[in-house]
């Protein structure tokens, strides 16, 4: 788990650096500071459980075992990316790992998770669905539609709200009448658990309970992980809504440092071993960036490929009439 958290951190440090060099286009939302959530949660579930997330999705992809090279190439918009450069940073996905994607439109994947959970229930399958989103999403109607349905039909879906205390440019208090997101679940009679999103064990335990609850046919479960993003909302955020001291206070709770100290204290690993992990991961990330740099761009002629199962007009030369 230490390695996974470091992997996310270093992957994103390199992504941010590549973004600053204009090698990555579009938007880049970093997960730095929130690593314990994806790592704790996904380790508490099975690799076959279905995963849907919001656009802050790099961490999930990596923990699910997606190749960091292909993930980095996807950020670069390259043909060798996870989705051939078609999805970009906000839409990482890997069907073979039951990772059904990051989703750029806030809240859009919440009812989709409920639908997948209905499929699991209908077919009496063992897998459950894990659906991740932010605090800001809970102000959107679609969030409530998804939760209502999941509770009504007692669907096997774990909703995980990553409460990082901010939306894009607003504080939680400016967006939400409730401070604790688990209160949102009460209206749907959904059992819930709040956990410390800076502590990988706390997340693990909460999600473990949730997943077992769902798997045993008891209906949906809501987990709130209180966490913090160390960086701006995206790379273009002036961060007018918070001060440096607050960020410093949270940085002192860095989930990687906390977990590293725990491992050393408990003699699970030595500082040198952890340092070795850091170095290995760093090396891997340098390779991932080099791979992404060298990978080819998608061919221009493929712009309209893959929109339909069979191209409607295979002869179409382009978007010109006549």
């Amino acid at each position: 788990m230490y390695r996974q958290m470091v992997l996310i951190r270093r992957f994103e440090d390199h992504a941010a650096e590549s973004y600053a060099r204009a090698r990555i286009g579009g938007f880049l939302h970093l997960y730095i500071g929130e690593e314990a959530v994806a790592v704790g949660a996904l380790n508490a579930a099975r690799p076959t459980d279905h995963l849907l997330t919001h656009y802050r999705d790099h961490g999930y992809a990596l923990v699910r075992g997606c190749d960091p090279k292909a993930a980095m190439a996807e950020l670069f918009g390259k043909a060798s990316g996870l989705s051939g450069g078609r999805g970009g940073s906000m839409h990482l996905a890997e069907a073979s790992r039951h990772f059904w994607g990051g989703h750029a439109i806030v809240g859009s994947h919440i009812p989709i998770g409920a639908g997948m959970a209905y499929a699991m229930q209908y077919q009496r399958r063992e897998e459950v669905v894990l659906d991740f989103f932010g605090d800001g999403a809970t102000g959107n109607g679609i969030f409530h539609e998804g939760l209502n349905m999941a509770a009504l039909w007692q669907l096997p879906v774990v909703f995980v709200c990553e409460n990082n205390l901010y939306g894009m440019g607003a504080t939680l208090a400016e967006e939400s009448p409730v401070k604790d997101m688990i209160i949102r679940a009460e209206g749907y009679t959904m059992p819930s658990r709040q956990c410390d999103g800076m502590d990988v064990f706390s997340v693990y335990e909460a999600v473990r309970t949730a997943v077992e609850h769902c798997r045993s046919g008891k209906g949906p479960f809501f987990v709130e992980a209180v966490t913090y993003r160390f960086r701006g909302h995206s790379m273009a955020d002036p961060e007018l809504y918070r001060d440096k001291e607050e960020v410093g206070r949270w940085r002192a709770q860095d989930p990687i440092l906390r977990f590293g100290e725990f491992c050393v204290r408990q003699r699970i690993s030595s500082e040198r071993e952890l340092e070795e992990v850091n170095e290995q991961v760093e090396q891997e990330m340098l390779e991932a960036v080099a791979f992404a740099e060298a990978a080819p761009l998608p061919e221009e002629s493929t712009v309209a490929d893959g929109v339909y199962a069979n191209p409607i007009d295979p002869e179409a030369a382009g978007p010109e009439s006549a």
Binding site: G26, G88, A104, I105, P319, A322
Partner: protein
């Protein structure tokens, strides 16, 4: 006269209206302290207070829905949706709700409001953030659809929009927000809807466009000049109402028309333009009306943007082909 970028012109219009009319109110996600994704409302909350420049929760349907309620109650709301592609979340409130309000009540009540939304490609923003879905709103009668292409027009059309008695969708081309400065009068002025603007004149071919595609057509026209082809560029400015007369005049002048837009080809507003011209000016045409548009595919990632969108080269090629036909 002050020089303004398009985004400054928008802000200037909003500021003037907030000053002039106490009923005017701005609503949107992160428009207050942050000043909006593109900083269009920068400083307005500080000047007019959080009750009139209102930060909303992440809820597009409620942003538009609440604006309708405010309008019915006598306010003049100007809502901002962060990107036009996010209006899908509010589509019901826009088309089927506010668009029908007036007729359904046989004129007894109306909801004059403005929905501002940045949109369009060319700034490396992915998918929904770049979608040019203006034609979808042309299919929802009751909404006026306004597409400024310059700082001067943005200010004049926005002042007109805020004063218009009907709901207006005001689409702002984010690629042009800071591209050029232009002389823009400091005071109030309005530009009436339904009057296309002749950007430049030429007798060989007519390029029809709106929003950011106008700038593209200007560049294409400059290149065509070098080849001895003189192009008229017509900026429609508003799709609803459409200046049919101005369109027919511009088409008749050259007999050859190319319409250019950032939206996918099929059923884009270019199809409406082509149909209108062939209905109204069929015998003045020397050849078919040509369309240059985006592919019938979702907006691609940054790396493929240039292949997806209309380019100067493609507009020039279409104009050449039209002239030769």
């Amino acid at each position: 006269m002050p020089q303004m970028t398009l985004v400054e012109a928008v802000r200037d219009a909003l500021r003037l209206e907030l000053r002039r009319d106490p009923r005017v109110m701005l609503l949107g996600l992160d428009i207050g302290r942050l000043g909006g994704v593109f900083r269009a409302t920068d400083g307005l909350q500080a000047e007019f207070g959080a009750e009139r420049v209102v930060d909303m929760p992440l809820a597009e349907a409620a942003i538009v829905g609440a604006s309708i309620g405010l309008a019915v109650a006598g306010f003049v709301p100007v809502a901002e949706i962060q990107f036009l592609g996010f209006t899908h979340q509010a589509f019901h409130q826009i088309g089927p709700q506010v668009g029908r309000w007036r007729q359904r009540s046989r004129g007894r009540f109306s909801a004059p409001l403005v929905i501002r939304a940045p949109f369009g490609g060319g700034i490396r923003s992915p998918e929904f953030h770049s979608d040019a879905i203006e034609a979808q709103f042309v299919q929802t009668p009751g909404i006026k659809v306004v597409m400024p292409a310059s700082p001067y027009d943005a200010k004049g059309l926005l002042l007109e929009a805020i004063r218009d008695p009907d709901p207006v969708l005001f689409c702002e081309p984010d690629r042009l927000y800071r591209l050029h400065r232009q002389e823009v009068p400091a005071g109030e002025y309005t530009i009436p809807f339904g009057q296309a603007r002749t950007v430049r004149e030429g007798d060989d071919v007519t390029l029809v466009a709106w929003s950011a595609a106008v700038e593209l057509c200007e560049r294409a026209a400059a290149q065509l000049d070098g080849e001895g082809i003189a192009a008229t560029v017509l900026d429609l400015r508003t799709l609803v109402p459409l200046d049919v007369e101005g369109l027919v005049r511009a088409a008749t002048r050259t007999g050859r028309v190319v319409v250019v837009h950032e939206a996918p080809l099929s059923a884009g507003f270019g199809a409406e333009v082509a149909a209108t011209i062939q209905e109204e000016a069929f015998f003045a045409l020397d050849g078919p009306v040509r369309r240059v548009a985006a592919w019938d595919a979702p907006y691609p990632s940054a790396a493929l943007e240039a292949s997806y969108l209309p380019t100067v080269a493609r507009v020039v090629a279409a104009a050449r082909a039209a002239v030769r036909s």
